[in-house]
């Protein structure tokens, strides 16, 4: 593995810090007029999601982290592991609940997700920005209320609960933004 010097640090670079893979968020060069130069760096720990602030001497280096993002198809959950497949090589990976985290509530079979691999094993899963899911539970719809703007909670096939307009019924499919959990619209029937 290579190393990166502080002057190569930039947002998105993956490095090892204190034994954990991190993604650099921000790198500020700090130099008192007559003093020595430092780099004040913000890093996101990819295992815990916590953002760290750490100061380095300019010119120090960090080892690069063997971290890569891959597009993979979500296959199924066997009760313990979530299974993903690389669409081109058909290579399969299993991720535990810790790696999947909050993404679990958006995972629908056959959707393409971004799986972050660390030393070849899944470290994190990012669902597609937009998913189409069926409503499995909600209060009965209110007809003729399309313009009113009121909302009610609806449970989706994957277990996520989102706020939807009052007129929607159980069995309808909707499009949701996974980054905000926001209802975007009815999905087209097909």
């Amino acid at each position: 593995m290579g190393t990166y010097s502080t002057n190569e640090f930039k947002g998105g670079l993956k490095v090892m810090l204190d034994g954990d893979p991190c993604s650099i968020v921000d790198n500020e060069f700090v130099k008192p007029g007559k003093g020595q130069a430092f780099n004040r760096v913000k890093l996101r720990n990819l295992k815990t999601g916590r953002v760290w602030e750490r100061t380095f001497r300019s010119g120090e280096s960090l080892e690069s982290a063997d971290v890569m993002d891959r597009d993979m198809e979500y296959l199924y959950n066997d009760g313990e592991f979530f299974h993903f497949m690389e669409p081109e090589t058909f290579e399969q990976h299993q991720a535990d609940a810790k790696a999947v985290g909050d993404a679990a509530k958006w995972l629908k079979e056959q959707d393409i997700c971004v799986v972050t691999l660390y030393n070849g094993a899944p470290l994190a899963v990012t669902p597609p920005n937009h998913v189409i899911l069926e409503i499995t539970d909600t209060d009965p719809g209110v007809r003729g209320d399309t313009a009113q703007g009121g909302t009610k909670p609806a449970t989706l096939a994957t277990g996520a609960v989102v706020k939807v307009p009052l007129f929607l019924e159980i069995g309808e499919t909707i499009k949701v933004d996974t980054r905000t959990g926001e209802y975007l619209g009815r999905a087209k029937e097909d």
Binding site: F29, V30, K31, G33, G35, A37, F38, R54, T55, F56
Partner: protein, 318 residues
Amino acid sequence: MPETSSWQPTASLENLRRRATLLADIRRFFAERQVLEMEVPILSRRATSDPHIDSIIADCSGAPAFLATSPEFGLKRLLAAGIGDCYYLGKAFRNGEAGGRHNPEFTMLEWYRVGWDDHRLMIEVGEFLSWVLKISHVRSYSYRALFLQHLDVDPHRASFEELKAVLARVLEISFEPAGRDECLDLLMSHHIEPAMGEGITLVYDFPASQAALARVEDDELGVPVARRFEAYVGGLELANGYWELTDAPEQLRRFEADQRYREDNDKSVNPFEERLVQALEAGMPNCAGVALGVDRLLMLACGAARIDEVIAFPIARA
């Protein structure tokens, strides 16, 4: 940044027009005070010896020449020759300094006042900044007072161990500090500067170990301090001034100590300016001098967050 737009300036035309006005205002300020504009070499056969500043090396007629990191040596030789109050407004270069507040090529204003000490010059720096930035609030603190106020520690008397303990309390660093000065630099730049707040802040009486080319004298508590000051606006470091060292043997000792430090720390060791030592031997008048970053001053005048917003073509597009 997409390739197709990289011909364009990163600064807005409005900020570039403000730069032109600022340069004209600076020249007017000094003309009214009978301080003379001087040109000195940007390309020199001698380099800075400053332990923490690196020169950019060029090739001139087959031999190395160095881009000036400040106009200081040239202006001091002119002072020794009898030019009187003078200033330089132009480019200076520092290798490896790039970031939100740094560009390796930048505009520097440096001026000297004959017969003045650091405290008299601080007053003028305050007047200059108030006038350019239309800020009336000027405060001044000794370096010690700032450390006592923000960190409850005396920067001149605290031991290395004590400073390391203070540092561990306020900051996460990736390395073991090498000495007291590194601790002080970290505390100043990471903790005190960001907490300075609005208005103009002048800080004086720096640690004797950070004297650079300033005189060292005892302060009111009998502790030797560097007669050096810095000016900050809203926590942004703008200017660094000295009651200038005029003692030739002491100047030579400091050059030699710098060169040793550079050698011990695997930094490039270049010919130092022995002609400054000669000028001091011949007799440089008692004077105070200050260097000020014009790009940063412009950032403040324009309300810019990054230096790229006030430089037409920063290094990435130069």
